[in-house]
Structure formats: structure tokens, C-alpha cells
């Protein structure tokens, strides 16, 4: 057992931390989020050049052969600046499905472009009725000769407006909530019959509703085997949960530290707010839950990287539960202890708090994962 980062991981951590420090002040972030495409294509290119986009792909596919721990190192630093670039959508979600299930030919065609930043992926898995269940799929893919024809709708698809390719889950067999009978496809974003409605999310990111009307796609664009997509989808979702949790832990650190700093500066009743014991204890609670989330993040990430999916699955449920619950707890209290200033868009805490809310709503909220854990 060893919690030390390797030398390489340490270098990446330092380099990501520097990037965030230099590029992601609040004003810069707000300006990027406000105008299309909602992030910086220059930053995205920088991330490609620094090799961050290559990190979790196999060396045979042009990547660096990194695992969940390497992604955690990047995402935790990203969380400190609430990075807007589509790393989660393209590298962890879309890329995660491709690296697990795509044919050698498909990987060869797509992954080089993903790694150098020319292609951008996302994953369309949620549906209007599915809430948090990955296996609740009504979007259908009907066999027609050597193609499939897709009909249906997908919801809250992250960064779809800038994606070149979209990984879509669709039902090729079984009933609405069966795990078997789900297949994954890689669609070009400009495919006929695919329409999008784009919108911002409350944390300053972008998402879309997608509609599929007789979208025709060749059998060669299948990711994994027919009817067996769920396993890939679930493993990819687990990676996404680990990445989101790492980002959340980075953001929690900012929230509690900003609060500690602010309460020492702000004077009321002739004292800094930090003199008041009730506020001291609240900040200690925030700090304690941050550390607990970080511990659970390490536990889940290390188990996942060790390749024991069953043990890791239970811990990932536990992780998403406490990150959702305590991320919001820390965010609410950061706002409360900043008083009126915490309610404004002028300070960081409000933005980080909103990101915590969105993270809880993605890939199952705290209640959902508590029930999964208890089951």
C-alpha cells in the first residue's frame, strides 16, 4: 500500500496545477463560458500538446497507457479551476467507450484524432424517462441489411454541440430496462436524421438534447458486440464517476480554503468572523468531509486501477454518494459563511457550489448511489 504519486504523476500534477493557475482565474473562466464554443480551443490544443488527452489510452492506440489514477491526478487539478474544456466528455466518456469496445479498425480511424484534439467525442446515454438508470433505454436500433436504423432521443448530452462523434446507447433487443439488448454505436455528429437542441448548464458548461429520426449507421460503427453494450457503458460510467469525483474533491478544497480565508478577513462585531466558534466548527466539518471524500476517492480509484471490478463497483457507489452529499454540504456552507457576498457571481464560491450541484446530478445522485450500495 502506497499513496505516493509516481515521479511522472507528480510532474503531470505540477504541470496541470500551473496551467490552472495561469489560465483559470474566475474572470477568464466566466468570459470563456459566456461565448461559443463555451471553452478555449487554444487550451484544448495545449492539453493535446502536453499529452493530457493521450493519457488514458493504450500505447498501441497512440496513448500513454495511463489508468484511473492518472486521470484522477489531472481531474483533481481541473477541479480547482473548474476547467471548461471537454476532457470528461471526449477523453473519459466517449474515449472510454471506444477504448473498451471499438474494433481495431475503428480505433485506428478515430483515436489518433481524439488524442491530438482534432476529434471530440461525447457519450449520449441518458433518456427522458431513464433518470439515472444507464440500462433504461428506449432509443432503438433496428437491423436493416448491413446497417442499423436508430430512432429515439437522448438527454443532457455533455458538450454535444462541439463533438465530431457521439457514442450512443440504443436498444437492439430485450425490454426497456434490461441490461442485455443494449448496443453502442459511434455516430458522426453531422449524420442525417440527428438533430440537436443546445443549451448551457447552470455550472457554465454546455449540453444538448438529441433526437434521432431514422438515423442510418453501418454495422462497422458498432462498439463492442450487439446486445452487449451495457458492460462497456457501465465501466465507462464508472470511470466518469471517478473523474467527476476527483474534480469535485479539487473544487471542495477551493471551497473550504476560500471560506477559511474569507472569515479571517471579514470583520463583524469587532472581530474577524473566524473568531466565532460556531463558524470555526462549521469549517472544521467542511474540512473533515473534504478529507473523507478524498480518502474515498483514493480507495475507489485504486481499486478500479487494480482491476477488481466487483470490489471497485461497490466503492464507486459509496464514492458518488458521499461526493454528492458532502460536495453540496461544503458548497452550501461556503455560501452561508460568505454571507451576501457568497450569493453573488463575483466570488468563486458560488460558481464552485453550482458545479457541485451539477456533479451530483450526473451519473446518479447521492440517493441513487446509496440505494445501489445498500442493495
Amino acid at each position: 500500500m502506497n499513496f505516493e504519486l509516481s515521479e511522472e504523476q507528480q510532474l503531470i500534477q505540477d504541470s496541470v496545477a500551473r496551467f490552472v493557475q495561469e489560465n483559470y482565474g474566475l474572470e477568464a473562466r466566466v468570459a470563456l463560458a459566456a461565448k461559443d464554443p463555451g471553452f478555449s480551443t487554444t487550451h484544448w490544443q495545449t492539453m493535446a500538446e502536453l499529452g493530457w488527452l493521450a493519457l488514458p489510452f493504450a500505447e498501441a492506440d497512440g496513448g500513454f497507457g495511463g489508468n484511473q489514477i492518472d486521470v484522477m491526478v489531472i481531474m483533481e487539478q481541473f477541479g480547482k479551476g473548474l476547467i471548461l474544456e471537454p476532457y470528461l466528455a471526449s477523453i473519459v466518456m466517449g474515449g472510454g467507450a471506444l477504448k473498451r469496445g471499438a474494433s481495431a479498425a475503428l480505433k485506428e480511424e478515430i483515436l489518433a484524432g481524439v488524442i491530438d484534439g482534432t476529434y471530440q467525442l461525447t457519450l449520449a446515454y441518458a433518456e427522458p424517462q431513464s433518470r439515472f438508470d444507464l440500462h433504461d433505454v428506449t432509443t432503438s436500433a433496428r437491423v436493416d441489411g448491413d446497417s442499423f436504423v436508430i430512432n429515439g432521443a437522448k438527454s443532457m448530452v455533455l458538450n454535444a454541440s462541439t463533438a465530431s462523434h457521439i457514442v450512443v446507447s440504443a436498444r437492439t433487443g430485450g425490454g426497456q430496462i434490461d441490461e442485455s439488448g443494449i448496443s453502442l454505436f459511434l455516430l458522426n455528429a453531422d449524420t442525417d436524421g440527428l438533430t440537436r437542441e443546445d443549451f448551457p448548464t447552470v455550472d457554465g458548461l454546455r449540453a444538448s438534447e438529441l433526437a434521432f429520426k431514422d438515423v442510418r449507421i453501418g454495422a462497422d460503427r458498432l462498439i463492442g458486440e450487439v446486445d452487449k453494450g451495457y458492460e462497456i457503458l457501465n465501466a465507462t460510467a464508472n470511470d466518469a464517476i471517478l473523474a467527476l469525483a476527483a474534480e469535485a474533491v479539487g473544487a471542495m478544497e477551493v471551497l473550504y480554503k476560500d471560506t477559511v480565508a474569507y472569515t479571517q478577513e471579514r470583520e463583524q462585531f469587532g472581530h474577524p468572523l473566524s473568531d466565532f466558534q460556531v463558524l470555526q466548527h462549521r469549517m472544521v466539518d467542511m474540512f473533515m468531509e473534504y478529507e473523507q471524500c478524498k480518502s474515498m476517492l483514493y480507495r475507489a480509484t485504486m481499486e478500479a486501477a487494480a482491476g477488481d471490478p466487483e470490489t471497485a463497483q461497490r466503492t464507486i457507489h459509496a464514492l458518488k454518494h458521499i461526493v454528492g452529499k458532502y460536495g453540496i454540504f461544503i458548497g452550501e456552507n461556503a455560501v452561508q459563511l460568505h454571507g451576501g457576498m457568497g450569493m453573488t457571481e463575483e466570488l468563486r464560491v458560488g460558481h464552485y457550489f453550482k458545479r457541485m450541484l451539477v456533479i451530483d446530478s450526473q451519473f446518479g445522485n447521492a440517493d441513487y448511489h446509496l440505494q445501489k450500495f445498500a442493495a
Binding site: 441518458a126 427522458p128 424517462q129 433518470r131 439515472f132 438508470d133 433504461d136 438527454s155 443532457m156 430496462i177 437542441e197 443546445d198 443549451f199 448551457p200 448548464t201 447552470v202 455550472d203 449540453a207 438534447e209 470583520e267 463583524q268 462585531f269 469587532g270 466565532f276 460556531v278 463558524l279 453540496i328 452550501e332 455560501v335 452561508q336 454571507g339 451576501g340 457568497g342 450569493m343 453573488t344 457571481e345 463575483e346 458560488g350 457550489f353 453550482k354 450541484l357 451539477v358 446530478s361 450526473q362 445522485n365 440517493d367 446509496l370 440505494q371
Partner: protein, 389 residues
């Protein structure tokens, strides 16, 4: 003790419902006209436009039970928009501490909703510690007017207000609670600049107000110079009782349950989810108790006692419940709660739910932060004396 409503109270409830039904807004009507007309009709009912005013100033003189019934019924009806600053806040101070000329001058316009008010209390350096405010008011050499300089913050509706009631400092030689003077002045004049503050839900309702050499005639001073804190303190208690919003919370909880019934969950709906049901039930239980806490508080007020420190309990409990309802609404919205485009995505309530939740975080900050409220309860209700450290 008797939980049954008397026949009179039941008749009163019927009367209120009938009034709301008869005067409801009809599509196509001019809203502004309807609004003023509504308050006029309510006045004709015998002070229904100003339920909390004393009969001396035209209020209805209701019993606590009647106030309770009114609150329940207004939570379900669509009333014309109204801000608390005029009728609910500055008017009681003018009645209690203003002179006859001020009462004659200001109360009719406040009552008719012809003039909008805002509250100039908080300052960048004076939030929970309001008494440390620094906005200066200097009396002119001839004693005819004050010259006001300073900055007010979190001023709700300052951008649409016609008048402001403002706490200013006229003396800083003694205790900070002394030397505060209560002034009224128009917002639309030279020397007043209003700058919007955008809050987390993206809304503009609060502002920073910059006051530079604003001239205020002495006849706009309420009561004595230097006694403004005493006047404002009475009002703060008033404000805190009004913030519990329990009837509205009950209606909001019903709405939340309806929304949850519209969210599919496998073959049933979110309302069939045991964990979700339990959270909604917990809220209902807390509301049932809080409703009776409010009734007890109203009853003791009616027995002659001014709304005392127990009103702090209501604000604490009421705002906590409001926040929990908002939070559960965000949970009910599920994946769609993140959507923040110009129109709703996925379901009709998620965006409003998120906006409401974010706005609700201020409920435990304004009107006395919860931490300060608890200090008040510890000191005044539990009688805990702090030893000097």
C-alpha cells in the same frame, strides 16, 4: 384549547375565498390597473389590503386565527404582486414613531401601492453587525437638512423604488447603537447611483446604492436624531415573523409531490420511490409542527405581548424548511436540474427548481443570518450569559 374553527372563522374563510374568486385576474385585463383596483376592493372589505395594520390606521383588527386563515388562503390564491418594504416595513415605523404630518403624507400612498419603497440598512462593512453602519448624515448649519454620504448594499428593488428608508450615522462618539438616525428620501435624485448585483440564480433583485451628498430635509427624519436603532429593531422583529412563509411552504410541498408524480422511475414514478417519499414526509411533519409554533406565537402576540424573540425560532425553522423543499425539488429534477437554457428541458419544473434552490440559499443569510438568530435565541430565550473572555 380547542382545535375546531368557530362558525365565524369558517364564515371568514368562505368570505376570503369568495373575495379572491370574485377579484381574480382575468386574461387580457390590464395588469397594473387590476392590481391597484384589487387593493382598492380589499380596502373596501375593511382593511384587507393592510391585514397587519392596527384598526387605528385602517387595519382589520383580525384575531390570530383570522390571520392564520388569511395566510393559508393567500398561499393558494394568485394575489397581485406586492413588496414588503412599504406596507409591511416602513409603514409600521411611521405609525409608531413618525409624527402626524409624516403619517398623513406617507401612509395613504403606501397603502394604495402608489409608491414603491426599498430598505437602506446593510452596508459593505455592516451585515450581521448592522449597528456598525457608517453612512454619514451631517446636519446642515441652519438645521434645515442632512447631507448623506455612504454605500448601502443588498438593497432589494432599489432599481425600481421611489423612496428609501435609510439608517444613517449622525454620531459616532458613543455606543455604536447610539447615533443612528432614521431618514426617508426619494430615490430618483442627484447623488444616488444604483448598481445591480447579479445573484447565483442569475437574477437581478438586489443592488448596491451609492449616496453622494444627498440632501434630506429634516422633516423626513423619523423620531429623534440618534434614536434610529431603536425604531429599526422593532421592525427587524416584524420582518423576521414575516419570513417563515409556512403556508406557502405547504403549498410548495404539494407542488413538489405533483412534480415528482410526473417524473418516470422505471415502471412507476419518483413519488413511488421510498427514499423520496420519506424525505417529503419528513418535510410535511416539520411543517405540521411549525404551523402550530406560528399559531402559538400569534396567539401570544394577540394577548398583548409584542412579537418577541420566539419569532427568531420561526424564521430559523421556516427558512430551513423552505431550503429543504427547494433542495428536494432539485433532486426531483434529476439530470435535468443542470439545464440552464432559456426554456425548460426535460420537464417543466427543473429549471425553476434550480433557480429557486439557488435563491433560497439567501434565506438563511438576509434578515439576520441563522447563526446570529441562534445567538439571539441563546441569549434572550435560554438566558445564556456569555462570560467575558
Amino acid at each position: 384549547m380547542d382545535i375546531e374553527l368557530s362558525q365565524q372563522d369558517q364564515d371568514f374563510r368562505q368570505d376570503v375565498r369568495q373575495f379572491f374568486a370574485d377579484n381574480a385576474y382575468k386574461a387580457g385585463e390590464d395588469y397594473a390597473e387590476w392590481r391597484l383596483e384589487w387593493f382598492k376592493k380589499a380596502a373596501e372589505k375593511g382593511g384587507w389590503d393592510v391585514p397587519k395594520w392596527s384598526p387605528e390606521f385602517g387595519g382589520p383588527g383580525w384575531t390570530p386565527t383570522q390571520h392564520y386563515i388569511w395566510e393559508q388562503e393567500t398561499a393558494r390564491a394568485t394575489l397581485p404582486w406586492d413588496m414588503p418594504f412599504g406596507v409591511g416595513m416602513v409603514a409600521p415605523i411611521i405609525m409608531a414613531y413618525g409624527n402626524k404630518a409624516q403619517q398623513d403624507r406617507f401612509l395613504p400612498d403606501i397603502r394604495a401601492r402608489r409608491v414603491n419603497w426599498c430598505q437602506g440598512y446593510s452596508e459593505p462593512g455592516a451585515g450581521s453587525d448592522l449597528a456598525s453602519l457608517k453612512t454619514r448624515a451631517e446636519l446642515s448649519a441652519d438645521g434645515s437638512h442632512y447631507v448623506v454620504n455612504g454605500t448601502k448594499i443588498w438593497t432589494t428593488a432599489a432599481h425600481i423604488a421611489d423612496w428609501i428608508f435609510c439608517l444613517t450615522r449622525t454620531d459616532d462618539s458613543g455606543k455604536k447603537q447610539e447615533g443612528i438616525t432614521f431618514l426617508l428620501f426619494p430615490m430618483k435624485q442627484d447623488g444616488i447611483e444604483v448598481k445591480p448585483i447579479i445573484t447565483l440564480g442569475g437574477a437581478h433583485s438586489v443592488n448596491t446604492v451609492y449616496l453622494t451628498d444627498v440632501k434630506v430635509p429634516v422633516e423626513n427624519r423619523i423620531g429623534e436624531q440618534g434614536k434610529g436603532w431603536t425604531y429599526a429593531k422593532g421592525l427587524l422583529q416584524h420582518e423576521r415573523t414575516g419570513l417563515a412563509g409556512l403556508s406557502r411552504s405547504l403549498v410548495a410541498l404539494e407542488g413538489l409531490r405533483d412534480n415528482a408524480r410526473s417524473v418516470p422511475r422505471g415502471n412507476s414514478t419518483l413519488m413511488d420511490d421510498p427514499a423520496f417519499r420519506a424525505k417529503a414526509a419528513e418535510l410535511e411533519i416539520d411543517l405540521m409542527a411549525a404551523e402550530f409554533t406560528e399559531l402559538r406565537s400569534l396567539a401570544s402576540a394577540a394577548a398583548g405581548a409584542a412579537p418577541g424573540p420566539e419569532s427568531s425560532i420561526l424564521k430559523l425553522k421556516g427558512t430551513e424548511i423552505q431550503q429543504r423543499i427547494q433542495k428536494l425539488t432539485v433532486e426531483a429534477g434529476g439530470i435535468y436540474s443542470a439545464a440552464w437554457g432559456p426554456k425548460p428541458v426535460g420537464n417543466s419544473f427543473a429549471k425553476g427548481g434550480m433557480a429557486g434552490y439557488l435563491a433560497s440559499r439567501a434565506y438563511t443569510i438576509y434578515g439576520g443570518a441563522s447563526e446570529v438568530q441562534k445567538d439571539v435565541v441563546a441569549k434572550n430565550v435560554l438566558g445564556i450569559k456569555r462570560s467575558s473572555r
